[in-house]
């Protein structure tokens, strides 16, 4: 029996309505442009409801969601344990002049959970914490330069954008230095050339950039980086916003065998409730204490309650093990589906955050076509970004996904008789 092909007429109508009052209709990574919805007609643009591993769009189509809201959905949408904690806290208090003691409970839990953490500082988005980390490093070292890994993404504040981005001026990024991922000699060279001027080295645990195969750290890379930073007084910042908790509940720095000086968390922290955390070493506590850096909702108790429940559940179910096993089961199946149809699907990165790329042409157009066919059949993936496993994903979901992948490969092959 042929698979149902989803259409998105209502999405398109609503997008036209949205475009009248919202810049770009939908801006940012969840919008059709930055979200690389190619073609736009293949993708749902608005959801109506969500549960577990699924969301339903405004046209009534169901999707198994491998983007997980770009990471936050780690236990499953509307997880009953997290949402129960939320509802209970909502009855008590949320955003109040004197914050709730939930902030202490949450900070204690973070310090107990994250191996490198002596303290925890809370905000709302991942970018709040990367900015806090950079300010803390500069406050502690009284140095200005920051080393980035080429292809990085650490948020959208001007300091972490690039010189050619709209709205960014050269002075915003004048103190940014760039090295190649996994190239320790390049890092050593940059450090030597800027001796005494570097405040921090900031990096994700592995290279999970967009539009390219993701690359894990080379053997011993992180250990050498850690040693160099210690010797030179450079603050080592691990941006664990995307990977955090899916690899290791003690932090991805712990997963790769080191301890960061500062580590940033957000996405998987509270299963979709809005909170982020910067954790750090004791020697940086007084520096962050001195920052003028705060926000209206940063100490709201409801997201704290959600995060506490989320972390406790992630520990209870051993989330990293689930993500690894499900990630491997899924990606092995996808690779086999590709091979069955004469395609070469490359899977890179960690299985919990797998990245897919068809290697049968170098323009990505074939890959984009395949992803579009997958989405039209009810499995939400993207063609440019890593994906995410969540704990509620069932074996049946994985089986269905692989069937969809097979059918999508067949559709692509049918559309391209020239491929043979």
């Amino acid at each position: 029996m042929s698979m149902k092909i989803n259409t998105h007429n209502r999405s398109a109508e609503l997008f036209q309505r949205a475009a009248k009052v919202i810049p770009s209709g939908l801006y940012g990574h969840q919008g059709p442009a930055e979200g690389c919805c190619i073609p736009v007609s293949a993708f749902p643009l608005f959801s109506e409801r969500a549960e577990g591993s699924y969301f339903w769009d405004v046209d009534g189509n169901r999707y198994i969601d491998y983007m997980c809201a770009y990471g936050p959905n780690v236990l499953g949408y509307n997880d009953p344990d997290v949402d129960r904690a939320v509802m209970e806290q909502m009855k008590i208090e949320n955003c109040v002049t004197a914050p709730s003691t939930k902030i202490i409970e949450f900070a204690e839990l973070m310090v107990d959970t994250v191996a490198s953490a002596d303290w925890a500082f809370f905000a709302k988005n991942g970018g709040d914490t990367t900015t806090a980390a950079i300010m803390t490093a500069r406050a502690a070292t009284h140095k200005k330069k920051i080393i980035f890994v080429k292809g990085y993404y650490h948020g959208v504040a001007p300091w972490c954008q690039k010189i050619d981005y709209p709205g960014v001026i050269p002075e915003d990024v004048a103190n940014n230095l760039y090295v190649e991922w996994n190239d320790f000699e390049d890092l050593e060279r940059i450090v030597a050339e800027n001796e005494g001027e570097i405040a921090a080295f900031i990096s994700t645990p592995y290279m999970h950039g967009n539009f390219l195969d993701n690359v894990l750290p080379a053997e011993g890379y992180w250990q050498k980086v850690r040693k160099l930073c210690t010797e030179k007084g450079i603050v080592l910042i691990v941006d664990d916003v995307r990977c955090g908790f899916r690899l290791d509940l003690a932090g991805s720095d712990h997963f790769y065998g080191i301890e960061a000086d500062l580590i940033c968390f957000c996405k998987a922290l509270a299963n979709g409730w809005n909170v982020s955390a910067l954790c750090g070493k004791d020697w940086l506590k007084s520096s962050i204490s001195g920052l003028t850096y705060t926000g209206s909702y940063w100490m709201s108790a409801v997201p704290f309650a959600a995060a506490i429940a989320c972390i406790e559940k992630m520990k209870k179910i051993d989330l990293p093990k689930i993500c690894l096993e499900k990630g491997l089961m899924l990606t092995d199946g996808l690779k086999a589906a590709a091979a069955n149809n004469g395609f070469n699907l490359n899977v890179s990165g960690e299985p919990a955050l797998f990245y897919l790329m068809l290697k049968d042409d170098d323009s990505l157009m074939l890959h984009q076509e395949w992803i579009a066919e997958v989405v039209k059949r009810g499995v939400y993936m993207t063609n440019h970004h890593n994906h995410f496993i969540n704990a509620s994903l069932s074996d049946e979901d994985i089986k269905f996904t692989i069937e969809v992948a097979e059918d999508a490969f067949k559709a692509v092959r049918k559309n391209h008789p020239e491929l043979g």
Binding site: A12, F15, Q16, A19, P23, S24, G25, L26, Y27, G31, P32, A33, E34, C36, C37, I38, P39, V40, S41, L45, K162, I163, D164, Y165, P166, P170, N210, F211, D362, S363, L364, M365, Q368, H384
Partner: protein
């Protein structure tokens, strides 16, 4: 945040270079050249670009360098050459004084016509033929300007540095197509369609292209509505769009 050297490259290769397209698209341009003896004008800008424009049989062609030309116009700086384009500098030939009549007559009329199409009166744009010629001229000018910015402007070079090798198809559906070729982070604007693009940016109509070129609509918003199709190596298009932002800065 522009520099005069990059502007000189744009003014010569993209703006004066679009005389090629003007002669092809606008009958009143080619008629200015009919029954005229072939003539070539060389532009040599100290510290900047050089090129020769040859007018022959009602058409014109630009080539880099000016070792062989009938009339040579030297400019002591990029600023002086830019002054020619904005009308504040009168050039003095170093060679070919006896062709001064062509410079003062046909060439001036051609550049005036070019300005009419490139900086149109809104009333003129109501004429469909004028609208089409003006928009296609802009497409070609922008294509070449993108390459010049990617190769010369400091911020543009940063964008080009992040572009992989390959060709980008830059097109208006059913109307025209140009190509940006990237090789070793150097850009080349080509005024014809790509045979094998690695990335595609296609505008759904000439009207939409015009609105984009005039800054009335935003490319990102148009992707969502389906009025612009982008596919292939999106990272190439991301960087192209950043350079495109700077085109408006230089051509304003």
């Amino acid at each position: 945040m522009t520099d005069s050297r990059t502007l000189a490259y744009i003014n010569l290769y993209a703006v004066l270079g679009s005389l090629e397209n003007l002669c092809e698209l606008a009958p009143e341009a080619s008629s200015l050249l009919t029954n005229k003896k072939p003539i070539s004008i060389g532009f040599e800008v100290k510290g900047g670009p050089s090129a020769t424009i040859t007018f022959k049989n009602g058409r014109c062609r630009m080539e880099q360098g000016c070792t062989k030309c009938d009339v040579k116009l030297p400019f002591s700086s990029c600023e002086k050459f830019n002054g020619l384009i904005d009308g504040t500098v009168t050039p003095i030939p170093s060679k070919g004084f006896h062709h001064i009549g062509f410079l003062l007559n046909s060439f001036t009329k051609l550049t005036d016509l070019l300005a009419k199409y490139m900086r149109p009166d809104p009333e003129d744009l109501k004429d469909p033929d004028f609208f089409r010629i003006s928009t296609l001229l802009l497409l070609n000018t922008i294509t070449v300007a993108i390459a010049q910015i990617g190769n010369n402007d400091e911020i543009g070079k940063f964008s080009a540095k992040n572009m992989v090798d390959g060709e980008i198809s830059f097109s208006i559906k059913g109307a025209a197509s140009t190509t940006i070729r990237v090789k070793d982070h150097r850009l080349l604007g080509i005024k014809k369609a790509s045979d094998n693009p690695r990335a595609i940016m296609e505008f759904s109509s000439i009207e939409l292209a015009r609105d984009l070129f005039d800054g009335n609509v935003n490319a990102i918003a148009c992707v969502g509505s389906g009025d612009i199709v982008m596919k292939g190596m999106i990272s190439m298009l991301d960087n192209l769009n950043r350079i495109l932002d700077r085109v408006a800065l230089y051509l304003a």
